[in-house]
């Protein structure tokens, strides 16, 4: 049962958590967490993956019940048993993965679950009025009759915010809200949040991007290993201090690298085109080249053709055009278009989605350590039979070299953390000593400590004279790691820049579709 929290005294904090604890089996996800979020502020929560941020927010939103502790909303203790209780207590949540019905219109999504009666019409009419009011108050214009499937991610996110506001949320929790946005869209989001704040709403922002914390929040709390390690005024802290608090040791945020010494052209792409099953052009006339000893970064908002480019190069998807590796033409649509022949041509591929593509999650780590290379005759004890003993012992050594924790090849891939899973994939691909390494989102969902390690390994490969093609939606990563940067938008290359010669603003404009000046 939920207490009505709407009438708390204005001096009381919007949210107060007292000694919240939650354990899943032997894992203590939250330990004695206390937190005060003042009314009318933007409060950031940062922490590595698995630090307990999501668990804490799930407790606040009624998905989990805390083992111990108290929740006070507006100074009154409340019991939040499910999301209905949370909504009644004035809490709204914007999830990282939107919870919208795609074929429905904005209006239909907004009223979903709050229909007044059996007939929709009165609820829709009422919602239309409310939506107009909200749009005017908070700069949240969305066409109420547009279908969700026709909207971009930025707009979809606005619909999620509107849903929460329509349910009269006073406290808005946003979980990694900028992961899928362009820099411009992210800026707009932060303007909206500012606006909401000035109208007295309280906002909790969960993110791993320290830059956003510094730019948008008033107060920031740091979580590490299930505990709240610090709550600071944002103005009094720095990214370096936050990173250290998150990881528990000093972290190098900047990527230190020597200048590239580009050599011969390893990869040449000419007029590459991909049309998907629906007849939509995903890649149009993409031409690029990558030299030995350099990293070419592909910047772009997710879904603008970068994934298709990686898949074509990795042999996972047919295409038209020309791709040459060291002058040798690759088969882009015939029988030689598969991952096996690409590997034979000297291309290694760290795919964007390691859980869906890069690893078989229920496999032992040692089985995954040869995934894609399992037909290698050196790994067979007899034709057609895998030399499991040898593969297992090699995997153990490999895991030790790549600092995979725990270095136990008998564990299933799914029991490793995100960062360690990524190290498994990276170890497998880099130790093959490829001429060209394709890397997609190398540090998505990876802890700060492991990011440093992964970046270093990629740079080492570059310095060993190999070509690297990097795709990432993190502009910081693209800027920090690449020697040259190509920007993609709508399946086209908008332009190329030297990394030393450009900045976030320029790349952001190009990502949004503005042609850069000729490079």
């Amino acid at each position: 049962m939920a207490a009505d929290a709407g009438t708390g005294t204005s001096s009381a904090p919007a949210i107060e958590l007292r000694c919240i604890s939650k354990a899943f089996g032997p894992v203590r996800a939250n330990r004695d967490i206390s937190l005060v979020v003042r009314r009318g502020t933007i409060h950031g929560i940062v922490g590595e993956n698995g630090a307990g941020k999501s668990t804490l927010m799930s407790i606040l939103y009624g998905f989990y019940k805390a083992d111990a502790g108290e929740i006070l909303i507006g100074g009154r203790p409340v019991q939040i048993g499910d999301s209905q209780d949370a909504i009644r207590a004035g809490i709204g949540m914007v999830f990282q993965h939107f919870k919208l019905v795609e074929p429905f219109t904005v209006l239909e999504n907004v009223i979903l679950g709050t229909e007044d009666g059996a007939l929709l019409k009165p609820s829709l009419a009422k919602a239309r009025g409310t939506l107009r009011q909200l749009a005017a108050d908070y700069e949240l214009e969305v066409d109420p009759d547009a279908r969700i499937e026709d909207l971009g991610v930025g707009m979809r996110q606005r619909v999620e915010i509107l849903k929460a506001l329509y349910r009269q949320a006073d406290i808005l929790i946003l979980d990694e809200p900028t992961g899928v946005l362009t820099p411009a869209e992210a800026d707009h989001l932060f303007r909206i949040l500012e606006n909401l704040k000035s109208q007295g709403k309280t906002i909790i922002l969960i993110t791993h991007k320290l830059r956003e914390i510094m730019a948008a929040t008033d107060t920031v709390s740091v979580m590490r290993r299930g505990e709240m390690t610090a709550t600071l005024r944002t103005a009094d802290t720095s990214p370096a201090e936050l990173a250290e608090l998150m990881v528990g040791r000093k972290v190098l945020l900047r990527i230190d690298k020597s200048p590239a010494r580009p050599g011969r052209r390893v990869l040449e792409i000419e007029k590459l085109c991909v049309t998907d099953a629906q007849g939509i052009a995903r890649l149009s006339d993409v031409s690029l080249s990558v030299r030995a000893g350099e990293i070419l970064g592909i910047a772009g908002v997710a879904g603008n053709g970068q994934s298709h480019l990686l898949e074509v190069l990795g042999g996972m998807r047919p295409a038209t055009g020309h791709v040459r590796i060291d002058g040798k033409e690759l088969d882009l649509s015939g029988p030689g278009c598969d991952g096996r022949s690409r590997r034979a041509a000297g291309i290694a591929h760290v795919p964007e989605d390691r859980q869906r593509e890069g690893l078989i999650m229920p496999f032992h780590a040692w089985e995954d350590s040869v995934f894609g290379y399992h037909s290698d005759p050196a790994l067979q004890s007899a034709p057609g039979l895998m030399d499991n003993a040898r593969i297992r012992s090699r995997a153990g050594d490999q895991m030790a070299r790549f600092d995979v924790r725990p270095p136990n090849p008998d564990l299933a891939a799914q029991s490793f953390s995100g960062g360690n899973q990524q190290k498994l994939v990276l170890a497998r691909e880099i130790e093959r000593n490829p001429d060209l390494l394709l890397v997609g989102q190398p540090t998505r969902g990876v802890d700060i400590g492991a990011i440093e390690f992964i970046h270093r390994r990629i740079l080492e490969l570059r310095d060993a004279g190999k070509a690297v093609l990097l795709v990432s939606v993190e502009l910081d990563e693209i800027l920090g790691l690449s020697d040259r940067i190509a920007v993609m938008c709508g399946g086209r290359i908008m332009g190329e820049r030297l990394a030393s010669d450009t900045d976030e603003t320029e790349l952001g404009l190009m990502m949004a579709g503005m042609k850069g000046k000729a490079a």
Partner: protein, 364 residues
């Protein structure tokens, strides 16, 4: 994720499920006014109490091992092969054609060729649904079910119009020549000084089934093809990433699955009936699904589950013979076993997991 020791997962849960299913079955038997204790006693003596009983239990178990393995292999590629029935029917045709084709001088010559015929025909019958699935995306559950009906009709036609010896009223082939007679367990065990009942159908095919278990284990966990089948089964995008060709792998998995189902006919057609009759499969293709489910798609599990279902099948036949408990009730008991070991797995698993968790906590 798993909070339980492995032995609990592999042994305790199926055991508890079985006990629950047995208790419910006892209630059903009570409900129709019979004595469950007497019924259990009769089933046990009837299926395990003598070498005669064992001879039948192992005969049925042999069928279930083959069909269970067939389902298990396909399942590792996440293909649900419901067509064991039809593939075994066609396997029977393969066996019959081989046995009738030549005046075989000795079973040792006939057996490998007949087994090959059974496997090829079974595989061929699986090939069409497999191709439709791999190329056209037609769901394999639907197509294999339909192919069961086609197989039955096809066999019906062939037996009535083509294979029936002239003058015979019976829709079946002629009797196979004596040279194809497979040694029974009695023949096999006699040289070892073990007396085994003479009058039972269990034959050398049981050993073939054991060999198939080992071969499937090798295939799934030791071979490159098995690696690719498992990878594809877990994630198709990952398989494509790794350069595994889904169409080829699906075809191989289904061909092997169909071949295994077809091999069952060596036991029934060559080992027991010694001619091809209508409906020689008798539902073993479907029981294979339950066997694979209970055996967790592992050859060792399939073997044990097949023995259990052989026991239920034979014990049930005895019950129907000597008591007023109708044979249909045996189907009810089998259904309960399937329900509890397969479908309601979580009902036992979750409380047990919680129990182990609290035990661990208590220790910590």
């Amino acid at each position: 994720m798993s909070q339980m020791p492995k032995w609990a997962d592999l042994v305790l849960i199926p055991l508890i499920s079985l006990i629950v299913a047995a208790l419910l079955s006892a209630l059903v038997i009570l409900g129709i006014g019979e004595d469950p204790v007497a019924a259990v006693k009769m089933m046990v003596t009837g299926a395990l109490g003598s070498t005669y009983a064992w001879g039948y239990t192992l005969y049925y178990a042999t069928n279930f091992i083959f069909t269970g393995l067939a389902v298990a292999v396909a399942f590792h590629a996440r293909l649900f092969n419901i067509g064991g029935e039809g593939q075994a029917t066609l396997g029977g045709l393969g066996v019959a054609l081989v046995c009738l084709a030549l005046p075989w001088p000795h079973w040792a010559l006939a057996l490998p060729v007949a087994a090959l015929g059974a496997a090829l025909f079974g595989a061929a019958w699986a090939a069409i649904p497999a191709w439709l699935q791999a190329r056209r995306g037609s769901h394999i559950v639907i197509t294999t079910i339909m192919f069961n009906f086609i197989a039955a009709s096809l066999l019906n036609y062939l037996l009535v119009n083509v294979l029936r010896p002239t003058g015979s009223m019976d829709p079946s082939t002629a009797r196979f020549a004596d040279g194809t007679h497979l040694p029974t367990l009695h023949d096999l065990l006699a040289p070892l000084g073990i007396a085994f009942s003479k009058a039972v159908p269990a034959n050398i095919s049981f050993l073939l089934a054991l060999a198939a278990c080992v071969a499937v284990w090798m295939l799934i966990w030791r071979s490159r093809l098995g690696y690719e089948i498992r990878a594809l089964g877990h994630s198709e995008p990952a398989a494509i990433y790794a350069g595994i060709r889904p169409v080829r792998t699906v075809m191989w998995a289904m061909l092997i699955s169909g071949a295994l189902a077809g091999l069952m006919a060596v036991n029934t057609v060559m080992g027991e009936a010694e001619r091809l009759v209508l409906n020689s499969v008798e539902g073993a293709g479907f029981i294979g699904i339950a066997v694979a489910l209970m055996g967790r798609n592992h050859p060792a599990g399939v073997f044990l589950a097949a023995i259990l279902f052989g026991f239920l099948y034979q014990g049930g036949a005895e019950l129907a013979l000597w008591t007023d408990i109708p044979r249909e009730l045996i189907v009810v008991i089998q259904a309960l076993v399937i329900l509890f070991t397969g479908a309601l797995d979580n009902m036992v698993r979750m409380p047990l997991e919680r129990l182990f968790l609290s035990l661990r906590k208590g220790r910590a």
